[in-house]
Symmetry: C2
Subunit: 309 residues, 2 copies
């Protein structure tokens, strides 16, 4: 078992099976990374939206590709998240025409976060969001010709934006090309299930991963979390829950988020902009039922621990 330090000058913006291997590791090896923020060089502390130069073609800065010696097509890479440490600065944004509620929030908006103060970061007066880091993009390169964008997610995982792949979780990814050709990035300091406004708290991150190999197939990307709740940093005061009862899951999700935004206004005095961003950063979309005669119930749960007032 060896430890490696990944060359921080190597990163790539797209998936492409022809990008040269940056590092080959043996099963059991650990690699330490310094992962660039999504939007590095495009946004910085204090910028207004007009100051930003968002370029989706170069938004993500993925570390990799990393090959695991002996990995063959049909095998499974096992990635254990050993440690994650956020950089000092984070951002979140509403961008025009994207996210779950673009018509409700048509104005672009950027928000900056100070990540230097410990276990939480302040959204606004009375709202402290637990810092629970993960990387939104973790994937093996699909076996497709040419270049393609880091989003949306794909058969190798990629931009799965799954908040539960935090420290202690093992992620299992299907191998589509010899070696696995694993890349990752898009570090997030906090995000709820859904990422409804289209962004998490985007930040830089130091990450340490252990690479393993299973000589068998996997049913798509899957993971195993460490013992305990899926949301230990948020559980202490219980949850607000809203419902979205609709014949379409997408419409139900919109209803549940709109209900949460309204509820947070009534119960916690949050304005809609802060409430929508909070839904993206700490609210969890769930499907309460998906079987009831054509009417489904999508819910959002919001930890009450974020409210310090």
């Amino acid at each position: 078992m060896a430890e490696h330090v990944f060359d921080p000058s190597i990163f790539h913006h797209v998936w492409d099976r022809d990008i040269p291997t940056a590092l080959t590791v043996a099963p059991g090896d650990v690699v330490h990374f310094d992962v660039l923020m999504a939007g590095e060089r495009q946004i910085a502390a204090g910028y207004t939206y007009a100051d930003c130069s968002f370029d989706f073609d170069t938004l993500y800065n993925l570390c990799g590709p990393i090959d695991v010696a002996g990995a063959e097509v049909g095998d499974t890479l096992a990635i254990e998240v050993l440690s994650l440490q956020t950089g000092p600065y984070g951002w979140c944004a509403f961008l025009e025409g994207v996210g779950l509620l673009p018509d409700d929030f048509p104005e672009p908006y950027v928000h900056h976060f100070d990540l230097t103060r410990g276990e939480t970061t302040t959204l606004c007066d009375g709202v402290e969001i637990p810092i629970v880091p993960f990387c939104g993009t973790m994937g093996t390169c699909p076996d497709r010709p040419g270049q393609f964008a880091p989003f949306p997610p794909h058969e190798g995982g990629g931009n799965i934006d799954t908040r539960h792949i935090t420290v202690g979780t093992r992620l299992y990814l299907p191998v589509h090309l010899a070696g696995g050709r694993f890349s990752f990035g898009d570090p997030h300091a906090a995000q709820g299930d859904g990422e409804v406004c289209v962004a998490a708290i985007e930040c830089g991150m130091k990450a340490s991963l252990r690479f393993g190999l299973l000589k068998r197939t996997s049913p798509g990307p899957w993971f195993v979390t460490p013992p305990g709740s899926l949301t230990p940093a948020a559980d202490v005061r219980g949850y607000y829950g809203t419902t979205g009862i609709a014949p379409d899951l997408m419409e139900g999700a919109r209803m549940a988020v709109r209900a949460m935004i309204e509820l947070l206004g009534i119960e916690e005095g949050l304005d809609p902009t802060m409430a929508y961003m909070l839904c993206s950063l700490a609210g969890d979309l769930k499907i309460f039922e998906i079987v009831d005669m054509g009417m489904w119930n999508v819910g959002m749960c919001m930890p009450r621990a974020v409210f310090t007032g």
Copy 2:
């Protein structure tokens, strides 16, 4: 503040604003109920599917309607769940043509549960499901003429099948008719978010509820859970998570559940029938992301605590 015992001979099978009020309470009053099982007189311990006489018109046996004195249209009923105690017997079933995966599991099947042994109930060798009771149907009667079935859910809640409305949770329901006209039933001993096979562990239940009244509107049915994790009985060993990456949330949900069924076969040796039922009874459907360029990621999380092997 008064305590009432609800007359156990009073129940109804449909929503109907013209059903006479069974009990009127004052805000703050507590009512004790003996709630009939869904399928009472249609299924019993030891029945095969062929022995059952399922009749959807009389499947649910709802307690109510209960009016809260002073509740006016536009107000909100607050229902606090004080205690829930399951009866000794429970059942779950696959029924033809319903559930999330009817094509994968076309054969009807009923399964019986012994609920007398404490905090868990056995699904099969090596699988113990935590008993976390709630009532699948809790609602205020909509202001519509005539009779309509207890499912699907509606603007007053109804068959919301929301597992988080367990002991300690407060449920808030919009009032559509003077008094609120609250009814509830469909007791469940255990269910995951999604209820994917179409049934929970259906059982009889003793329930105690406190009724309150807010003189303001609510953004649809919502709830507040007690301090702690949403799934405290299941958290101890962490979770398996699967993903369903698809351009449609329903298809993503099917993928995530199929992946979980496959994974539980590989990792825990479960046959598909037991795995699908376990997904309904203990697996939680989540929406990991709903914003990524037309490809969504629906997940299922399964507590590893259910596996005792």
